[in-house]
């Protein structure tokens, strides 16, 4: 709520509360006024009734002493008057007599009076003074009822009056207390309100002063309300935050500036260095260019020499080509001779193989003889053993065996002869075998020789083929070479042309290098200038930092 609204609301609330109090008082007074309109008339009527009955009693008494017509008329009039009063009191529209007790007494009174008025009228008519006198006295009984009724009515009136008094007092007290409460309440409320307003304003003022002094550590609490002061408070908080942010970002950017400046400085130095290097390199380049130019001169000369050599080579190569063709023809002749020789060699080898086969068959026959001889030797051995056994048996048989022992001895001699024959066979066979082996060896040697010869022939043939192909290749190469030489000569011419071009370019490059040197100098000067500016920037930054130091960011 806006401040104006709050102030207005305060005023309105006080006003409405006061009006409510006044309204309450008015309502109370109206209620009191409207409470009872008939109480007083009732009371007066009852009292009047009492008085009227007193008068009636008096007139009846008078009549009892003097029974004149005027006294009679007086009595009649009084009876009517009392009757009228009683009728009025019994009419619910004209009275507020309504409690049970009031009604009881009113009923008793009415009843008694009816009897009394009847008796009195009768006494009047009969001119009975004793009865009139008696009735005059009996009125006291009715008057006692009227007295009771009057008492109740008065009491009711008193109650009403005291209630009224109490009501008025209560209203008055409530009004007074209400007024005091209102006064105190709104006084206290307004004082508190004003104090709060002042405190809030002061808080803002203090904050403003501190901020003016550069103290940005001021921290205002966020306001919950929505009035102008709260908005101001919010704006203050925002402003302080923003200021803090600005100062911080300036500080940060100062740092960045420092870094950038120093980096710039470094970069600048590096740049200058690079520029110097470029300058040096450019000079070197220039020198190089000159050398290249010089070298190119030499190269041109060399290329010219080369050109001349090429032409010599070319004629020589053409001669080589014809020689090569001659060689090729010789080679082809050698080749055909070699092929004939190879054919003969192959036939020799086949004959040798036949021989070898025969030798091998001999060899196996010899082996078979050996084997059979071994069998014979084996049989001889066994026979010897058998003869031995037969001798033993003959010995055992004694005399009977003597004949057998002689046989056995013969067998043993045969066996020994077989064995020696076998040994001779063995020796002979071995000699045959030895001779065979020698034959075999020489055959194998011959075979090997043939093989080698064949291989050599093959190799020779191959060599011839190879030589032929090589010679052909050489011939091709020479032809190719011849072509290439011509191509080279053309290229050489191109090279010559190119070198001349390069020479021209090199001269241009040298000129360029000089220009580069000049611009590099200029660059260097610029970089020095930048260095100066950076230093100036750092100076400004220091000044800024000094200014920023005035601001206090944190409490």
């Amino acid at each position: 709520m806006k401040l104006q609204g709050k102030l207005l609301l305060n005023a309105m609330v006080s006003l409405i509360a006061s009006l409510a109090l006044v309204g309450y008082i008015i309502v109370q007074l109206l209620q009191m006024n409207s409470q009872n309109q008939t109480l007083v008339p009732d009371m007066l009527n009852v009292q009047q009734l009492n008085a009227d009955m007193g008068a009636l009693s008096q007139s009846l008494d008078n009549y009892s002493f003097s029974m004149t017509e005027s006294n009679k008329a007086e009595v009649t009039g009084q009876i009517e008057a009392v009757n009228a009063k009683i009728t009025q009191l019994n009419n619910p529209e004209e009275t507020s007599l309504d409690t049970e007790e009031q009604m009881k007494w009113l009923a008793s009174l009415s009843d008694k009076f009816k009897d009394l008025s009847d008796a009195s009228l009768k006494a009047l008519n009969e001119q009975d003074s004793t009865e009139a006198k008696r009735q005059a006295t009996r009125i006291q009984g009715i008057q006692n009822d009227a007295y009771r009724l009057d008492l109740l009515t008065k009491e009711r009136y008193d109650l009403y009056t005291s209630n009224l008094t109490a009501d008025i007092e209560l209203t008055w007290e409530i009004a007074l207390v209400g007024a005091v409460v209102l006064l105190v309440g709104f006084g206290v409320f307004n004082v508190i309100f004003a104090r709060r307003l002042a405190r809030r304003t002061r808080t803002l003022k203090d904050a403003a002063v501190r901020i003016a002094d550069g103290d940005l550590s001021v921290s205002l609490e966020k306001a919950k309300g929505k009035d102008e002061l709260d908005e101001l408070n919010g704006a203050f908080i925002l402003m302080t935050d923003n200021l803090r942010g600005i100062v911080r970002s300036i500080e940060n950017s100062g740092g960045v500036l420092d870094r950038v400046a120093s980096e710039l400085d470094g970069q600048n130095d590096k740049m200058q260095e690079i520029v110097s290097q470029v300058a040096t390199s450019t000079e070197e380049l220039a020198i190089g260019s000159q050398r290249i130019a010089e070298d190119l001169g030499h190269t041109v000369e060399t290329v010219d020499g080369m050109q001349r050599n090429f032409e010599v080579n070319l004629s020589e190569t053409q001669q080589s080509s014809s020689a090569t063709e001659e060689a090729l023809r010789f080679v082809e002749h050698g080749e055909s001779v070699m092929r004939e020789q190879l054919q003969i060699t192959t036939q020799n080898r086949a004959a040798m193989s036949e021989l070898e086969k025969t030798v091998l068959e001999l060899e196996s026959s010899a082996e078979r003889i050996t084997t059979m001889t071994q069998h014979v030797a084996q049989i001889a051995k066994q026979t010897t053993l058998l003869s031995l056994n037969a001798s033993i048996e003959a010995a055992r048989a004694g005399e009977a065996g003597k004949g057998f022992a002689v046989v056995a001895g013969e067998v043993n001699k045969l066996a020994e002869q077989s064995d020696s024959a076998a040994r001779e066979i063995f020796t002979t066979v071995e000699e045959i075998a030895g001779a065979m082996t020698r034959v075999k060896g020489s055959v194998e040697q011959s075979l090997t020789l043939f093989q080698r010869q064949e291989e050599a022939s093959n190799t020779t043939e191959q060599s011839f083929a190879e030589i032929s192909s090589q010679v052909r290749r050489i011939s091709g190469s020479v032809n190719k070479l011849s072509e290439d030489m011509q191509q080279s000569r053309r290229l050489s011419e191109q090279v010559q042309q190119a070198i001349e071009n390069i020479s021209a370019v090199t001269e241009q490059s040298a000129a360029g290098s000089e220009e580069i040197t000049a611009s590099t100098d200029e660059q260097k000067r610029s970089f020095q200038e930048i260095g100066g500016k950076v230093k100036e920037l750092l100076h400004v930054r220091e000044e800024m930092q000094r200014e920023l130091a005035r601001f206090k960011l944190d409490a």
Binding site: R138, N144, D158, S162, E169
Partner: protein, 341 residues
Amino acid sequence: MNWGVYMLMNKKIKSLTAMLALAVTVSLTACSSDQANTASAAERPEIGVVLSEVGLGDQSYSDAAFRGLVKVRDEDGVLFDYREIEKTGTYDEAFKQLVEAKSDLIIGLGFMVKESLEKSAKENPDQQYLIVDDKSDLPNVASITFKEEEGSYLAGVVAGMTTKSNHVGFLGGVESDLLAKFQAGYEQGVKAANPQADVKTVYAGDFGAPDLGTKIAASMMKDDGVDVIYAAAGLTGVGALQEAQKEGKYAIGVDTDQFFIAEKAVITSMVKHIDNSILSVVRTFNENGGKFPQKDMVFGLKEEGVGVAPIRIIELTPEQQAQIDDLTQKLISGSVTIQLP
């Protein structure tokens, strides 16, 4: 906020506190002022009275009691209600109604109501009763009795001094112990003033028949030469008083000053100050917190419960007046006593 404003505020708070205190005090005072007030109808003592046979308007007994109650009502604020047999039919019903009305004290007038009163008193032992002109043995029934013989003695003295024929009459209502006291006092008073005089006594047997009283009085005067009649017979006696006036004789009223009934005949009346007695007794009752300090109360000349009305019509000699005064003093002091039957 500076100190000045703060002090101002303190001052303000102090004055507000003072106002608040004032308001509270005023309201408390207002409350306390409500207490002083007259007692309401419900809080006032309530007395019920059963009137005697004829009821209100009997020109003697009931009227006197009624006057006494009106006096107590007007002077002390005591409330009362009454019952008459004419309305209730029986005395029992009359007492029952008064008990139901929660009376603080129920008064019965005359020996005629005694039986019903005692019956009611037995049924309601916590209820206080008072009987006039009789006594009861019940603890909750107090009594007022009168030394009617003392008043009657003085009436007899006046009658003895007044008679010319030396024949005086006594007209009783209904023969009873009470009436016997009247009779005895009267006879002894007549003898004290006029030893030659004799007393003609007749009981009418009714308190409410004026015509019968007229008849009896006429007979007394005509047949017996009676020239002063003491009519102790209620309304019956009224007839006798009027008859005496008619015959030019004298008469003495009873209970109240009955001069106005027959202003040419009634020389005095034996007055029972029932009104004053009832006033005195009810006051005692109220002052003692609804109890009687003395159960049976007797009212004589000394207590001004009985006496004679001013003497009219006849002229007494100073000697006669002095004799009356002397006898009155002697009755009060007890030097003269009356023999009761």
